[in-house]
Symmetry: C2
Subunit: 318 residues, 2 copies
């Protein structure tokens, strides 16, 4: 959870973070607490009080259906008119992190994945976002899940040997010395399986970086290629027949792996990206700030968005 505090003229004066707080998966209370932490940190950095804030934009998946505006205002210490506390989805915020154009497309692949088509400044078509069990192709969960399944398959003997096995077992501190139990199972498998069931399934996203670390290994290459194909399917499903406006792409799985420099792209992904004006963004933090500004003042221009982005990046890395 990230909070950006700006002046009326679009200069970033504070940036803060809180824990993960998706209201759908973590619950409304955790989401509120995470926002409060992030907003408080941003205000402290800007050396202002939150009750002096004029307008707020909360960008989060599920924010409109799961969180109450009055509760949000109380949580954030926002004392202005409730009409100036606005909400939007994470897809729109990611899009406006990358462009000021009112029409274009956006694809987000972080822990989950989804895509949107924007027309007239609003998302008019959504694809994906069906969650780890039913969809989320190309997501960090999909990649991390494929990593752990590939390791289990090697240890069971149903899948090929892969460099991912040593990486995962080392990561978890599980010995892989080839020892077997009485019924012929590797003892490493007996330690690994209960460890992986212990957390929430979606937490398997944390193993996605192992696939990118093991590139060159055929199994890891196959996992990354499958995720790129799924990303291509999202892009193809959400674009119109011809590209209109930019394609904003964000989320840790996009920038940290699927489109990372030097990573080979599948044919499907190359075809899906053909002719696209791609803008990579980290997340929706800049876009949420941009939406807060444009709701209160006039439309932001390219220079204004660049200034805002540079300001946020400067405080992020400070």
């Amino acid at each position: 959870t990230r909070a950006v505090l700006t002046t009326r003229d679009g200069r970033c004066s504070g940036y803060g973070t809180g824990p993960a707080g998706n209201p759908t998966s973590a619950g409304p209370d955790a989401a509120m607490a995470a926002m409060s932490t992030a907003a408080g940190a941003a205000a402290r950095q800007a050396e202002v009080s939150l009750d002096g804030v004029e307008a707020v934009m909360v960008a989060m998946a599920g924010v409109r259906t799961l969180l109450d505006p009055a509760d949000l205002a109380r949580t954030l210490g926002f004392t202005g008119p409730l009409g100036q506390l606005r909400t939007t989805g994470d897809v729109a915020a990611t899009y406006f992190s990358g462009t000021v154009e009112p029409a274009g497309c956006v694809v987000v692949a972080g822990t989950g994945s989804c895509a949107g088509q924007v027309r007239g400044g609003v998302v008019v078509r959504s694809v994906g976002g069906s969650g780890w069990l039913l969809g989320d192709g190309g997501s960090g969960f999909a990649v991390g899940h494929a990593v752990v399944r590939a390791v289990v398959a090697q240890l069971e003997g149903t899948g090929p040997a892969t460099a991912l096995t040593a990486l995962l077992l080392d990561d978890l501190g599980i010995a892989h010395d080839g020892a077997l139990t009485a019924d012929g199972r590797p003892t490493a498998l007996g330690a690994l399986v209960p460890t992986l069931y212990r957390g929430r399934p979606v937490a398997l996203a944390r193993y996605a970086p192992l696939a990118f670390a093991a590139l060159g290994d055929p199994v890891a290459d196959g996992i990354v290629a499958g995720a790129q194909d799924a990303l291509a399917a999202l892009i193809t499903a959400v674009r119109a027949d011809a590209w209109v406006g930019p394609l904003v792409m964000g989320g840790g799985t996009v920038s940290g792996g699927l489109l990372a420099p030097g990573v080979a792209r599948t044919l499907a992904l190359r075809l899906a990206l053909e002719g696209a004006d791609v803008r990579l963004v980290r997340d929706g933090a800049v876009g949420a700030a941009a939406l807060a500004l444009t709701a209160e003042t006039s439309r932001l221009d390219d220079a204004g968005l660049d200034r805002l982005r540079a300001g946020v990046e400067a405080l992020r890395t400070a």
Copy 2:
């Protein structure tokens, strides 16, 4: 959960069923209650009292680590010496449902999947059984999960049209009239996704039969072919270099779909089965009874196993 009551000379005198009761997924109490129900029903059919039973074999995944023998005896009303209440895994029971040979292989694909190599009457090598999240290739969960993901992909626009969509939506009573929400999603998708998240993930196994019902549809054919390949991987992993003894195959997903008459077999599955002496069985009920008998008396011969199987089948269908 199934219970078989036999006489000392191997004639089946009672058969009863209870609800599903895997101690790992449903908990020890539910497993105990399910066994009590099944055993009680078998005793009523045989018109005997359970306290006259001389020996018990409890065959169940996880029975040795999760259930206490004294608790089991109390639950089943077994008043004989505790040494005559024995336990074994579901894999061994399935194997001995199909053969009296002390050496061979067994593959089970029901809701989950696993395989075992038997030598000297005991399972010396186990493969699979890592559960729905990490393994279970070729299982009812794997097939049912693939079915619902294919339907979600079609409705999202990331996957091809498939006959599975109408089958699943009709099954769930969800209208599929092509209506869209404001952000361009099919309303059917909005109804489907929360419905599928509501249950436990493993419950998606209940949609596996839709894949077999839709054979001829390319998406359904692909799902079944993928499950057959996974079954082939299990078989290849568990057999020795050459076949020794029979290959017993059991579980609803094997007999109800992957090896059903008229279902085309993938190259991998044909190669895996080459030279195998395949015996299809329904489950481990006959094998548990056979193990109870052989622990108390001498080894069962083929004729004895056939008589036991015929007796169980007669009472099952009565």
